[in-house]
Symmetry: C2
């Protein structure tokens, strides 16, 4: 061994091989936010984190014990790449309805919703390929696809002159968050959903329906999923259309399990499975078995009303505080669900990257619009989260944000 030898002086060695090109363009703001979130006293309204008090800790602890003791073959072995058959069956059943026939072959279990985005990029993007993306666009999706250095065509379904066929045609896939878009919190209405689905069938383009917030409707009746509208256009056997639906337990039960899923045609599930094999082989068997048993125990049905009450109250508190302190500078719509309010400055000269640095000095953190623009240009808006903080903290955060806006010195 070498322990007895005197250590030589450090070599001045040759330089290391360069990192891959895409790393040069990485946006580190999410990580800055995670770090900022640990600063004492800072009010973090930037992330999309759930309220930990809503987690059903006692029941989950019992379920975790049982997942190992009763199902060691599921929880301790390598699960199949596609996921535990029990979990795939539960998810197929959950999302099936009169218009949408699903079987196990339509379901891939993923390691959180983020992995579903990574895998879609892996199977559909050659270097520089075209993505059609709902604008503004979820930062995590842009991060997931950056290594393939794609090009983007952005579209806004809420605009009057929106042309879905023109938006989709020629892209490898179109990316949408129809329920309470991250970052805007907006709903894509029923008519637009139908138009997007029709355009996907007409153009052949894969249509990704990313739906982490689909259970978080605080008012009104949930709109039909686009994959259901697509299923209605198909007769016969199990779903085989162009919709690629993504969901996650992170916003419904707890994010720490890292359980997400993709529901799509068996052809797409097959391609994603090959990609997953080379990404992480399979998702934690323990987490998957806990998910099955949590579903079977009715945990979703018991927990969701609690979550909805807490978040509805916080949304209302946030919007009331914004009305009081921010309405002279910003416009926003009160969202019907989700986790965020999107506020756009009345003054087009506003630079919310600058506002963020003032906000951090004032002790509050929000997300600037630049990170949700694949081209990095939009500087006029902010995304404000309302799920993590109590109503009092939300109000204090908005007061601090108003201080930061004043420091910017715009009318």
């Amino acid at each position: 061994m070498t322990a007895q030898q005197p250590k030589p002086q450090p070599e001045v060695g040759p330089s290391r091989p360069a990192f891959a090109i895409w790393l040069g363009g990485t946006n580190e703001i999410t990580r800055m936010f995670l770090a900022a979130g640990k600063v004492p006293g800072l009010i973090n309204m930037a992330g999309g984190l759930p309220e930990p008090d809503t987690y059903p800790v006692k029941e989950l602890a019992e379920i975790a014990e049982r997942a190992v003791s009763k199902y060691p073959q599921d929880s301790l072995n390598y699960p199949p790449i596609e996921g535990l058959p029990d979990l795939r069956d539960r998810l197929a059943a959950r999302f099936s309805n009169a218009d949408l026939k699903l079987s196990r072959e339509n379901v891939l279990v993923t390691s959180g919703g983020m992995q579903a985005l990574d895998l879609i990029g892996k199977v559909l993007l050659n270097e520089g390929a075209l993505i059609a993306a709902q604008s503004p666009t979820y930062l995590g999706a842009v991060d997931a696809w950056r290594p393939r250095r794609p090009s983007y065509r952005l579209f806004s379904p809420e605009k009057n002159d929106f042309d879905p066929v023109a938006a989709l045609t020629g892209a490898q896939f179109a990316y949408t968050v129809p329920n309470f878009s991250n970052p805007t919190g907006r709903l894509v209405g029923l008519a637009r959903r139908q138009e997007l689905v029709d355009a996907a069938h007409q153009s052949g383009t894969w249509l990704v329906e990313d739906d982490p917030y689909g259970a978080l409707y605080y008012d009104g009746t949930p709109l039909p999923r686009m994959i259901t509208l697509s299923g209605a256009k198909q007769s016969g056997a199990i779903y085989d259309g162009p919709l690629v639906y993504m969901g996650t337990f992170s916003k419904e039960i707890a994010p720490g399990f890292r359980i997400g899923w993709v529901i799509a045609s068996p052809e797409m599930i097959g391609a994603l499975t090959i990609a997953k094999q080379g990404s992480d082989m399979c998702t934690s068997g323990l987490s998957q078995r806990v998910a099955v048993d949590a579903l079977d125990a009715g945990l979703l049905e018991r927990t969701l009303p609690v979550i909805l009450d807490v978040y509805r109250h916080r949304r209302d508190a946030l919007c009331a505080a914004m009305e009081e302190h921010l309405s002279q500078w910003f416009d926003w719509e009160k969202p019907v669900g989700g986790m965020f309010v999107w506020a756009t400055a009345k003054n087009p000269a506003m630079d919310t990257d600058k506002l963020l640095s003032e906000a951090l000095k004032a002790g509050v953190c929000v997300s600037p619009s630049s990170v949700f623009d694949p081209h990095g240009e939009d500087r006029r808006s902010i995304r404000i989260n309302f799920t993590l903080n109590t109503p009092d903290r939300l109000a204090e955060g908005i007061r601090r944000l108003a201080t930061a806006v004043k420091a910017i010195g715009l009318d």
Copy 2:
């Protein structure tokens, strides 16, 4: 809603966008094996699966319960991208020694060992970049890097004329499995380890030390890790050299948790962390907390002797059966550790892809050498696993394999 509308006939729509180019070259043999493993009566000696009877189920069930009930903030929230600080600290302590100073900043927790390979490809490979790889090469690594369509320079450390500097210079990284290589089960000796480390320091090339089997020494004293040899060349602060060490709990406790790790310079850990953020955001908090508590409870120290006894006995049983039934056609070395015996046909005309199809007919599955050759050319060897089956099943499997060899009809 659409449920009341009559369903139209299926459209004959336009074709979907093509999948990414790399999917055309995918090797599906691992998945074929997984499927074959479920055929009743088939003896699966192809995979690298642990013996489930060695899992400490009762203790792990208690630990899982406690991970949720006592540490919900760790197990149920989003963990940091890099991993739970407690787990990073435990791993830094475990691999530190007199020659190697490690801190939390040297450690990234990954979702199994496979993710570590994926992330290395993500941060170091532009399309077509050069990898120097120990030959034959682990199939999973080839799978992980295929989406970047790399080129390979293969090297064999056991050859007399091996030139480590020539092997490494100009490659983005060099890939090695020094302890009981998958597939060959061979050890890279101490002198060669030192030469590889010296070559990495001299050339600047990153040197990946993939070590899933490092705890599975059945005979003799473990050789020093290459990252330790590299640490001995550096004085002063925490490790900052060219070694990238990868490990996993899959072979030590149980694979279902999907907990692996990378130990490397903070610069490399930083790049891998950015890549991980866009891959799965973070690894299951529940699995990570279980890993911390399993380490703290001394589970590794208690479980490992049991595993070693079982596997040593099975290795001996396999080699005895091979001596009896296969020695007229194949040569092999009895491995000192790991999970595999690598057998090479005496007759260079042997085609082990063909042997596999005969073996499946005879009711046994082994891995042909073609899948461990990034160029797909090596047809002369087979990899035989000895950890999953009992000695009786191993002997029966080898008898079936001998039947398949006879059916091939080579001398």
